[in-house]
């Protein structure tokens, strides 16, 4: 139990009770898929509450229903990444198809405890930040390991114009100001190794901006923000 963040457990409880929005439910389902411990807890609570579902009065089902289901399945064009495709429990990368479904800004609150479900191999991140664009759509996820290394992954299609670079930043404190975590080679997953910074804390700001090729000329973010978000403390 100790490995689960309390926030995540509470969200999972709310999910079983049916209190999450569709967007939140989709996100927590994805997390549950990658977290056997959380999945077991959710399964247990579901089974415990199941008798309440069985207290509804049964209704006769039309024999046509199965044909309607088959017709619906036949009509559906196969998606490029079908819902049924299994993801290994230790797959650190959330499937891309999942992100459009969680575009609403309400995922910000859910970012609490988000990383606990990923089971990233190697060191556990100290904080995880989901970076959202102005419309609240997730663009990237930064995991900061607290030893001056971090990992960035992009979860949206980001086009970097010729002659420009993406740059990752954090704001450890107002005194230190925005500090570069590294200039990125396109919108691809990257491991960042940066200068000595204080250990990251919850609610620390992370962002990715579009900068001139090779990075900001001033050492501070100058370009448009691709995504920004506050860190959620893990563990």
């Amino acid at each position: 139990m100790t490995t689960l963040s309390n926030d995540l457990t509470l969200l999972a409880d709310d999910h079983v009770l049916g209190l999450l929005s569709e967007t939140e439910a989709t996100l927590i389902e994805e997390i549950i898929q990658r977290d056997p411990e959380l999945a077991a807890r959710v399964g247990r609570l579901r089974d415990q509450l199941l008798p309440l579902d069985l207290s509804a009065v049964p209704q006769p089902v039309s024999p046509d229903l199965i044909d309607a289901v088959r017709a619906q399945l036949a009509a559906a064009t196969p998606a490029p990444a079908p819902l049924s495709s299994p993801h290994p429990a230790n797959d650190p990368h959330p499937p891309r198809r999942f992100w459009p479904a969680v575009a609403a800004a309400s995922v910000v609150g859910l970012a609490l405890g988000f990383g606990a479900g990923w089971q990233t191999p190697g060191p556990d991140p100290v904080v995880v930040a989901v970076l959202l664009d102005d419309a609240g759509n997730p663009q990237a996820v930064i995991e900061d390991y607290g030893n001056d290394t971090a990992q960035v992954r992009f979860v949206a299609d980001i086009t970097v114009p010729d002659g420009q670079s993406l740059q990752a930043w954090t704001l450890p404190s107002p005194e230190i100001g925005a500090t570069s975590l590294g200039v990125l080679d396109g919108a691809r997953p990257a491991f960042l190794d940066f200068d000595d910074l204080p250990n990251p804390s919850g609610q620390q700001l992370y962002e990715v901006t579009l900068e001139p090729l090779g990075g900001s000329p001033t050492g501070r973010p100058t370009g448009p923000i691709i995504g920004k978000g506050f860190a959620a403390l893990q563990g």
């Binding site: 569709e22 399964g43 579901r46 006769p60 229903l65 289901v69």
Partner: protein, 215 residues
Amino acid sequence: MLQLAPNTPTFGMTTTYRQRPPAGRTRDRMTHVTDRTARLRDALKQCAAENDDGLVQILNIEGPQLLGLATRILGRRDLAEDALQDAMVQIWRKAQQFSDTSGSARGWIYAIVRNRCLNILRDGKRLSLMSPEDLATVQEARQSIEPTQDWEILASGSKLQNCLRGLDDKNREAILLAYVGGYSHGEIAAKQDVPLGTTKSWIRRGLTSLKECLA
């Protein structure tokens, strides 16, 4: 989102009990339940292997109860049938994700149907496509859901019933409005005529006590 008038009639506890099977059949029921669990697990395996006999099996075993559940949440038979149909499609597509290390096949199937119902309820776009008359009937049917009664028909002396009985009335009511009635936090707060934060803390507190009791 359904607009529910605040201060709707309260859901007082009643002592209405529906008929229960005679106690002497417990052993048969246990065997039956175990058998059903295994059959549902096999049915999901068939779905995962793209054999649609699995869907037929699930509908044969659980169809009427699932439709009953959907009808209770949605309040309308046609919407409930839509929900069950959509849920069966999802069960087919997600069957490979089921793992019996995380709860029973039965619980997994019911959760998909429940979630489909809740998504329909909370899909403002879908509701806005309904005629005002249809929307009114949905709202009326939802108003008449009395989730705080249904728990009393749980097998008498069952752990869940005992544990629910042990909760503070307000906590129990909030949990049942959520789980059985399919109401959102905001709707429950309106029904209980308390601030949102109070409802949330009643639900949290109630669920914590319930889980401790059930453990």
